[in-house]
Structure formats: structure tokens, C-alpha cells
């Protein structure tokens, strides 16, 4: 059934006969099947519970069943023999917060795992050498961003030895204090590897301070094409569970829930087996529905709680981390290894050998594409991340960073049609929006430049998940409208702030000038009065004489 749905999604309009056939068999907008939103019953007790659930508030809102395209990579083992690149380009900012500050000099010889740049400020993360070699340059190079504008990077010429710095792992990390765990996680440069890249240590501290009761491990991986978390869970389940336990220790929290979409049964079984000895770590299957991996959607599904706007999830007693992050925590605490590499999915129609591959951070995408034999002519778009929320990159001369979960080379056939038609108010965008927004109204207002109305309609609550753009039958690039408007709103606020400041300065200056003029006038008057007085006295004296 599902397969036929997937096959039927692409009815070409070549000829009426073919079109009619497509019309008959295509479930075009798949109806929202409310019942299957909830957890599938496993045994009789659960059936009763799910019956109760049926009458409670729906836990998933909106979302789309995107075509998965995961099988190409999800069925193969992670590839570890990626040839070490000659040069690595390591951006100083691979995380949310302040960029790291370099402490090496050009020409320095560094070992793998050596600290290259230290974190500065409260929210920041250090950067380590992904391999051993010599520092060639610290300068501005194009960033892995749609603009490819230059940002500060360290260029490392590898020596091919891949020599680790001597590491000092602790014997039993569970003897460390929770604060110590945070410190070590922070020093290892670990950030959220799901793509948000928020420094993990800061999140652990917030979790500890807010005394959270549930740690959710996000194994949803709801983006199509990507399967790096899936493979990681299948191949390194025990290490991930160990990382989860360390995180729990670091937050002084007790229970954890690992949430995995039900399109990854292998990963689920592996994780469940690994979590078996620890009753406080529950492994949960969740429905496959993009954007299930949106942290707030997942929190609502798992705990039933909704994170208020403007709050962090830890304020309602929940913290969410990615499976990759848990694995990185395990490596940092058990082996003392900082975050210097990650597993990346390379996939897409133009890739001859799609795979999950572990690469050192800073590897150029061009080298990754060479290794996976990407067909340059067929590539219509290069995407960093998943096809729903990922960024389209202008070229391949850009490095992979901590946030890179996947690099896709999509063919024109895979891309959404960009032939824009007028909005027919079909309201599909409203029914798929997980945030409860009305994309069509927002887009209409943005089109006529009424950005304030768009903000009132909830522009700032948009998470850019792309569901509306995905479903739109008129191919309206809704997310593009919202991103433009968000940027424009900030720019306008800044411009307004600036003009207010300028006005204030001018007013101040006018006041000052007026005050000076008044003072001068008063002084003049006093002077004149004094002069008159002097002359009067003089005249008096003369008459006296």
C-alpha cells in the first residue's frame, strides 16, 4: 500500500492517457489518518492505553509523509576508510554562539585532537584538530552556507599519520561529579549534532539547574534521504546508550526516552537490546511523519507537554539531545577524544555510490563527492542537510562542519517543480503546518509588503520546516517568503533603531547648541550690564571730580 502510494506520487503529465491513469491511482494529498498518529499498540495493556489516548488531545499536528529515499544508504554499513584529505578547512564557528578564538600559529605542528581554538563566552565551543599535520593558514574562506561568504577558518595540511594527541581518559566517568561531566563535554567541543549545533555542555548545565525529569534522545531522523543516525544506532547502540547514561549523570536526571521513527525497525531493535540492562532508559517507536524530529513536536509526543513560546524545553523539565551527540559524549568521556569527525550521509539521485561515511571535520564537499562518485552533470542542486530544511550550496569547495548530517546531490527530477502558480487557497499548507500557522495568509501579506501583519500572524513562530512548500500544489516557495520576511523585519527594526538614534543625537545636538547660544546671550547681557555699570560709575566719578 505504502509502496504504491510512493510510486504513484510522480504522475507525469505527458499525455492525457497517462494523466488520467495518474488521476485514478494517485492519492494526491494523502488524507490525514488521525488514528495512526498515536503510538501503535504493542500488547493488550497498550491497546487500552491507546484507546484512552484516542480521546485525549492529538499529540502530533500537521506534518507530511515525505518520500523517504533512505534505503539507498540505510542498508549499508558506515564506511570508515575515507582517504584522509590533504587539506582540512576548519571553521572557527561551527556552533551557535560566539566563534572560537584560535591559539595556534601558522606553521605549528599539531596532533589529532589537539585544541586549535578555545571557546569564548558563555555559549561557545572549542575546535580541535581533526588530524595531525601543520597549520597552513588562519584566514577567511567560503563558509558552508547558501551565500558561501567567507568566514574565519584554520587550514590544516595533514601529514597522513593521523597521530592522536596523548589522551587522558578517566577510568570511571560515573565517579565524576555532574559538573565535571559538563566541563569535559564542553572541552571536547561537542555540540548538538542533529543540526542545531547548540553547545551540549550548556544544555547539560541548564538541564541540571532546572532539575529536568526526562531526557529525550532524538533518533527520529525525519528528514528524507538522511540515514546517518539510523546507521549509528544500528552499529553503535551500546556506545550511544552509554552516552545517554553519562548525559543523565551529567544532568543529575534519572530517566531517558530514546524516540525512533518506526521506519527504522533495525535501529529500534538494536537500541532496545542495548538499553535492556537499564530500566530507566526507555526506547520508544514513534510514527514516521516529518517533522517528527522537531524537538518541540517530539517533546509533545513523548511527554504530552507543550513548550511555551519563548521558553527553553528544560523549563518544563525536558531536555532533548540527538543520538549522534550521545555517541560523541561517550567518546569524549570514555576515551578522552574530542569531536573531530562525524558520520555524514552522502546521497541523492546524482550519487553513484550513496553511503554513510565517517569523515574528519573540515573535509571539503568536493572530496566527499569524488569519493562517492557524484555525477556532476546530473547534479541540479547540492544540499547540506536534508532536503526539507537543508541549505542549497552554491559550489562544492566548502568544508563539512559539525552540523553536517548529510550532503545531497539531487537531480532536476528529484527537485520540486518551481513553476509558480497562483494560490488557490486549498489550505494544504495550513493542515500540514506543525506550528499551527496559516502560511498562505502570511505569504499573501509578505507579497504586498505588510510584514507587520505577517508578524502578527505568527511569522516568528515559523520553524522553516518546509512542510508548506513541500505540499503546495501551486509550487509557491512559502519558506523563502518567510525567511525573506524574517530577515527584512530584523533589518527594518535595525534601520528604525538607527534612525531613532540619529534623531536623538540631532535633538541632543540642537539642545546643546541652543543651550550654548542661550548661555552666550546671557553672558553678553551680563557683560553689557557690567559695561553699562562701569560707564555709569565712571560718569559718576567724573561728575564727582
Amino acid at each position: 500500500m505504502l509502496k504504491s502510494c510512493l510510486n504513484a506520487v510522480a504522475p507525469a503529465h505527458n499525455g492525457i492517457v497517462k494523466g488520467l491513469k495518474g488521476l485514478l491511482y494517485t492519492p494526491f494529498f494523502r488524507p490525514l489518518e488521525t488514528a495512526s498518529f498515536r503510538k501503535k499498540p504493542v500488547n493488550e495493556g497498550d491497546i487500552f492505553k491507546s484507546l484512552l489516548d484516542f480521546f485525549s488531545k492529538p499529540r502530533i499536528r500537521g506534518g507530511v509523509h515525505a518520500e523517504q529515499n533512505k534505503a539507498q544508504t540505510a542498508t549499508q554499513n558506515i564506511v570508515y576508510h575515507f582517504p584522509l584529505p590533504k587539506k582540512l578547512y576548519i571553521p572557527l564557528q561551527q556552533h551557535v554562539g560566539k566563534p572560537a578564538e584560535p591559539l595556534i600559529r601558522v606553521g605549528d605542528k599539531v596532533f589529532k585532537g589537539q585544541l586549535l581554538a578555545y571557546s569564548q563566552g558563555l555559549i561557545s565551543a572549542p575546535v580541535h584538530a581533526p588530524s595531525s599535520g601543520v597549520i597552513l593558514d588562519v584566514n577567511d574562506y567560503p563558509a558552508p552556507h547558501p551565500s558561501a561568504l567567507p568566514i574565519r577558518m584554520i587550514v590544516l595540511e595533514t601529514d597522513g599519520k593521523d597521530e592522536w594527541l596523548e589522551t587522558h581518559p578517566v577510568d570511571d566517568p560515573f565517579q565524576l561529579t555532574p559538573e565535571d561531566i559538563s566541563l569535559r563535554v564542553g572541552a571536547a567541543g561537542i555540540v548538538g549534532l542533529g543540526g542545531a549545533t547548540f553547545p551540549t555542555a550548556v544544555k547539560l548545565n541548564m538541564g541540571r539547574e532546572n532539575q529536568i525529569d526526562t531526557l529525550i534522545i532524538n533518533g527520529a531522523e525525519c528528514e528524507p534521504y538522511l540515514s546517518c543516525d539510523d546507521r549509528l544506532m544500528q552499529e553503535r547502540a551500546e556506545q550511544i546508550i552509554d552516552g545517554v547514561r553519562l548525559m543523565l549523570h551529567g544532568m543529575a536526571a534519572e530517566s531517558a526516552v530514546v524516540a525512533i521513527e518506526d521506519n527504522k525497525p533495525q535501529a529500534y531493535l538494536a537500541m532496545q537490546a542495548a538499553a535492556q540492562p537499564y530500566p530507566l532508559i526507555k526506547v520508544l517507536q514513534i510514527p514516521t511523519r516529518y517533522p517528527m524530529g522537531w524537538d518541540r513536536q517530539l517533546i509533545r509526543y513523548v511527554t504530552g507537554k507543550e513548550v511555551p513560546v519563548g521558553c527553553r524545553s528544560s523549563e518544563i523539565g525536558v531536555t532533548i539531545h540527538n543520538v549522534g551527540t550521545a555517541h560523541a559524549v561517550h567518546k569524549a568521556l570514555r576515551y578522552g577524544q574530542p569531536l573531530v569527525s562525524r558520520v555524514i550521509t552522502v546521497s541523492g539521485g546524482a550519487v553513484a555510490k550513496p553511503m554513510n561515511v565517517e569523515v574528519p571535520l573540515g573535509t571539503l564537499i568536493s572530496e566527499l563527492f569524488d569519493f562517492c562518485q557524484v555525477n556532476v552533470e546530473q547534479t541540479a542542486r547540492i544540499i547540506m542537510g536534508g532536503p526539507m530544511m537543508g541549505d542549497a550550496l552554491p559550489h562544492t569547495g566548502l568544508p563539512t562542519v559539525k552540523a553536517t548530517s548529510g550532503v545531497l546531490a539531487l537531480t532536476q527530477h528529484e527537485l520540486k517543480n518551481t513553476d509558480e502558480q497562483p494560490c488557490i487557497r486549498c489550505a494544504s499548507c495550513i493542515s500540514v503546518c506543525p506550528a499551527g500557522l496559516r502560511p498562505l495568509d502570511m505569504a499573501n501579506n509578505i507579497r504586498i509588503n505588510q510584514l507587520d501583519v505577517a508578524v502578527d500572524l505568527g511569522l516568528k513562530d515559523c520553524i522553516s520546516c518546509g512542510c508548506c512548500s513541500y505540499i503546495c500544489p501551486s509550487n509557491i516557495p512559502l519558506v523563502q517568503y518567510f525567511k525573506y520576511a524574517s530577515g527584512e523585519v530584523v533589518a527594518r527594526q535595525q534601520a528604525q533603531h538607527k534612525s531613532e538614534q540619529t534623531k536623538r543625537l540631532i535633538d541632543d545636538r540642537n539642545d546643546r547648541m541652543e543651550r550654548i547660544a542661550r548661555q552666550q546671550r546671557e553672558e553678553e547681557l551680563i557683560r553689557l550690564a557690567a559695561k553699562a555699570e562701569r560707564e555709569r560709575l565712571k560718569a559718576q566719578q567724573e561728575t564727582m571730580v
Partner: protein
């Protein structure tokens, strides 16, 4: 190294869909009822159908050229064809040719293009045209041909049909009559009771559409099937049809239970006139109906209520057109007040409070 200059954001993949795909699906869903209607009312109905659809396309192209736009790509979206098609479905099958042309002109020019084209109109173009025609040309719009299927000996032949369409009907009384609802209405005005009025009424014939009425509105069965298929395909949501039909059924059932002799039964209501066409094809028009589920339920219920009120107490035997237009005008209001709750905020848009644990 490869380059790709044009930046593009979010959702790089998507459903392979288009506006014309939706329009084609609706046309496919409505075609069984259309074919059946054309068969029942013969050549004159076919003439009128073709004239109405072609003139709708013509007026669309005319307006687009007037606006200095290329007509062909817009025409290809199928919306003008569908508007003409739906309008033809609601016309008396043997109406003269100019009814179709004037109706299409009203629908496309006044109903759609003056608002700015597809997606901008406030009122359902087909219903706007139908109501305007009904008010302006009451005789032509209420002359209902008898069922006279294609290729039957008593039915008009091809040549004769041109006479009916382009000149007019000569022998009115022999070939025309009243619709069920119209008949009930006139008989009520003469103080007759339902039991007498409906002596000859056949629920089954009405159900399959073997009765007088608009070209494509008679067959409850085929329209209902087409509508259910559309819901199954996900082209329309179930909310409007269900709430509309349910409202009519509940209201009619209530009054019928109160007074059997003066209020027709809910089955007759569901089984006659434009109810099925309206519920599945007219009221569900994306452009002119609310865009939230709750809003759609209200909209459907409002349409049902107005249809029942007009049919029961109004001057016209059928009120679907008026009901839909009135509710169309309420759509912006419904959309203003009924909006989804934003995640993490309450209904008024304030952030939720942190629950005390």
C-alpha cells in the same frame, strides 16, 4: 567544483502536483454525473454544455488578453473549463444558448476576473452566475425539460436540438414540467398536503436521477459517488460535505417529525435538487470556503441551514445558490475568527504558562 548560482530555500523536494491536476481530478469526479445528465436530456443539453464551457474559456482568454497576459498557460490550469462545466451543470438542460453565454460571462468576468483571477474571488463564480441568471431570466431558468434520453424516439434529434437551443421551445407544456421541489412548493401554496402531493414521487428514480432538474444535478447517486471519490483522493476534505448534508438532514428530520404533512422528509431533501452537487463540488471550492477544519464545519452547517430555510420558507423552491453565496461572504469572517492555535501559545496568541509541577 560545480556551481549553482540561484539560491533557493527550504523544501527542495515536494509533491509533484499542480493546480491543473486538482482541476482535472474534480472534472473526473463530476464526469459520470455529467455524462448521465447529458444522456438523460439529450442533444439540447449537450449543445448547452458545450456552449457554456467554450464561452467560459473564451471569456477567460479575453480577460487575460485584456490584461496583457498570455492566455494559454493560464487556460491550461483548467479552472475556466471547470467553472463553465459547473455552471452548465446547474442550468436547465434545454435552456437557450444565450443563457450559457451570459452565464459564463457573468461567472468569468464578474465572478472571477474582476477580482484578479484564480484564487482571488470572493464568491463562487458558477453560483454567482446561476443566481444572477435566475433573478434576471426567471422563465428560462425554471423551464425544466422532461427526461428525454438520447436516441429515444420521443426525444429531439440532433437537428431538432439546434432548433431548441438556438431558437427556442415551441411546445412548452408537452416537453417540460416542474422539478420535485418546485412542484411541492406550488402545491403547498394551494394548501394541499404532502401525502397527496407526493403520490407519484419515486425515491428511487430521484436517486438515480431519472427526473426533471438541472442538467447535472439530478443524479444523487453519481454525484455522491464522485464526491466520495474526491474525498478519498484527498482533493477535498470531508468537513464541508458532511456538515452540510448533516445539517439539512437533521433540520428536515426535526421539522418532518413535528409536522409530517407540511415538511418534506429529510430523504427527499437529500435526494433532490442541487444538494449533492453543492455539498461535494460547489461548497468545497477552495477559494471561497474557509481554510481551517473548524471553519469548514461551520461553513458547511451554514450552507445547510440556509438551503433548508430557503427551500422550506423562501420564495424559491431551491436555495443552494443563494446559500453558498451568503456563506461565501461570511468566509473571510470565519477565517478571521477561526484560526489554528499556534504551538506554544494559547488561542489568543499569548505564550502558554509554564505548568507548575
Amino acid at each position: 567544483m560545480m556551481t549553482n548560482i540561484k539560491p533557493s530555500s527550504g523544501a527542495h523536494v515536494g509533491v509533484k502536483a499542480s493546480v491543473s491536476h486538482i482541476m482535472w481530478q474534480v472534472m473526473l469526479a463530476i464526469s459520470p454525473a455529467t455524462v448521465y445528465g447529458l444522456f438523460c436530456f439529450g442533444w439540447p443539453a449537450l449543445n448547452l454544455f458545450i456552449i457554456t464551457v467554450l464561452s467560459a474559456v473564451f471569456f477567460e482568454a479575453f480577460c487575460l488578453r485584456l490584461g496583457g497576459r498570455l492566455a494559454k498557460p493560464v487556460l491550461m490550469d483548467g479552472s475556466a473549463v471547470l467553472t463553465g462545466w459547473l455552471l452548465a451543470m446547474t442550468l436547465p438542460p434545454w435552456a437557450p444558448w444565450w443563457i450559457g453565454v451570459v452565464g459564463s460571462a457573468i461567472a468569468i468576468i464578474l465572478g472571477k476576473q474582476v477580482y484578479g483571477g484564480l484564487g482571488q474571488n470572493l464568491f463562487n463564480p458558477a453560483m454567482l452566475a446561476r443566481v444572477a441568471l435566475l433573478i434576471s431570466f426567471p422563465i428560462e431558468m425554471t423551464t425544466w425539460a422532461n427526461v428525454s434520453p438520447l436516441f429515444f424516439s420521443q426525444s429531439p434529434g440532433l437537428i431538432e436540438s439546434w432548433h431548441i437551443t438556438f431558437v427556442g421551445l415551441d411546445n412548452l407544456d408537452a416537453t417540460t414540467g416542474a422539478t420535485t421541489l418546485g412542484f411541492v412548493k406550488t402545491e403547498f401554496s394551494q394548501n394541499r398536503l404532502l401525502v397527496d402531493i407526493l403520490k407519484d414521487y419515486s425515491g428511487f428514480l430521484n436517486f438515480i436521477g431519472w427526473t426533471r432538474g438541472s442538467m447535472g444535478e439530478t443524479s444523487t447517486l453519481l454525484l455522491g459517488l464522485g464526491g466520495v471519490w474526491l474525498v478519498r483522493q484527498g482533493v477535498i476534505q470531508w468537513h464541508i460535505p458532511v456538515s452540510l448534508l448533516l445539517t439539512v438532514a437533521v433540520l428536515a428530520g426535526f421539522f418532518h417529525a413535528l409536522d409530517e404533512q407540511h415538511y418534506v422528509s429529510p430523504f427527499l431533501h437529500l435526494n433532490s435538487g442541487a444538494l449533492m452537487l453543492t455539498a461535494f463540488f460547489i461548497a468545497t471550492d477552495y477559494v471561497t470556503s474557509p481554510n481551517t477544519k473548524t471553519g469548514q464545519l461551520i461553513f458547511g452547517a451554514g450552507c445547510g441551514l440556509l438551503i433548508f430555510v430557503i427551500r422550506t420558507w423562501g420564495a424559491y423552491p431551491e436555495g443552494a445558490g443563494f446559500a453558498v453565496l451568503l456563506m461565501n461572504s461570511a468566509t473571510p469572517l470565519i477565517d478571521y475568527y477561526i484560526r489554528p492555535r499556534i504551538y506554544g501559545r494559547d488561542r489568543k496568541g499569548k505564550p502558554l504558562e509554564i505548568p507548575k509541577s
